[in-house]
Symmetry: C2
Subunit: 168 residues, 2 copies
């Protein structure tokens, strides 16, 4: 059901619960049994998607910041609709307790600053822009890999565009 919600809401967040139930091949009743509210489904999907995003980078040895960013980018593109759901509208979850904008954001900014220290990001580029670019590329690559390009190709292009786009 979460997958169905992601794939539907990735394209149209105003889509009804009937649509999602249909996509999930369950009745609307069943959907309501697992998620009492529309809000409950949103929260569950948000939480699940964030958890997946978080779980991307454990287990590996600490690497350079720019490499870590790359890995995030590739793994994020792999998530497809989940990522589109999360990032297609920057203020979709504004009031949501599970979505503190500075949640992963602060961590991301720190990572970006480390990348700058490593010389992978030009000093004159504001952290805000680098982060914005990162998410824009992540979203775009996920989006385009639903249509025109194979997923890994899109990921490669996003990585390349990011590296060069922020390089000194």
């Amino acid at each position: 059901m979460l997958d169905a919600a992601a794939s539907v809401w990735a394209r149209d967040f105003s889509a009804s619960l009937s649509t999602i139930a249909e996509r999930a091949e369950v009745s609307r009743s069943t959907l309501h049994r697992y998620f009492t509210d529309r809000q409950a489904l949103i929260d569950a999907l948000l939480l699940d998607s964030l958890a997946r995003l978080e779980s991307l980078d454990d287990g590996s040895a600490p690497a350079s910041a720019i490499y870590t960013l790359e890995q995030h980018l590739r793994a994020g593109v792999e998530m497809g609709d989940r990522v589109i759901f999360l990032f297609s509208d920057p203020n979709r979850f504004d009031g949501n307790p599970h979505w503190s904008a500075d949640d992963g954001d602060e961590e991301m900014r720190a990572l970006m600053d480390r990348a700058r220290d490593e010389g992978a990001v030009a000093p004159e580029i504001p952290t805000t822009w680098a982060v914005t670019l990162f998410y824009a590329l992540l979203y775009s690559a996920a989006e385009v890999s639903n249509q025109d390009l194979p997923r890994h190709v899109a990921a490669d292009l996003a990585v390349q565009s990011f590296r060069r786009g922020v390089a000194p």
Copy 2:
């Protein structure tokens, strides 16, 4: 009213007509007098925004493709909410007669190919990705210039990220 609609719908396309009327400081009745339908308002805003986008590049002498792209980017960022409205959801206007996806798209692809011929775009980058990147940067710069960075700074950064992101 179109401005109000753009500024509201740029952030939440599911926002009601009451919200837009309020933002425009007119009554809902008046709004309905000018635009019978919700759809009519959408179409009017779409048409107007597209027209503005088109009218960006006339009058100037023919320049290099990459320079033309830059100018489009800068001018687009200047449009702010209109651009966000147009591009925040890539398939928002899918069935709309005024939105032939290959409308400006074909022109944009041709421009991108010219830029590749000029050596400004790496040959191994698919046109699709270059175009996607262009619109992602346009959207992001417009978005970020509503929050953190001055408009022209955001435009500069977008231009820089684009040039380097696609350069050979």
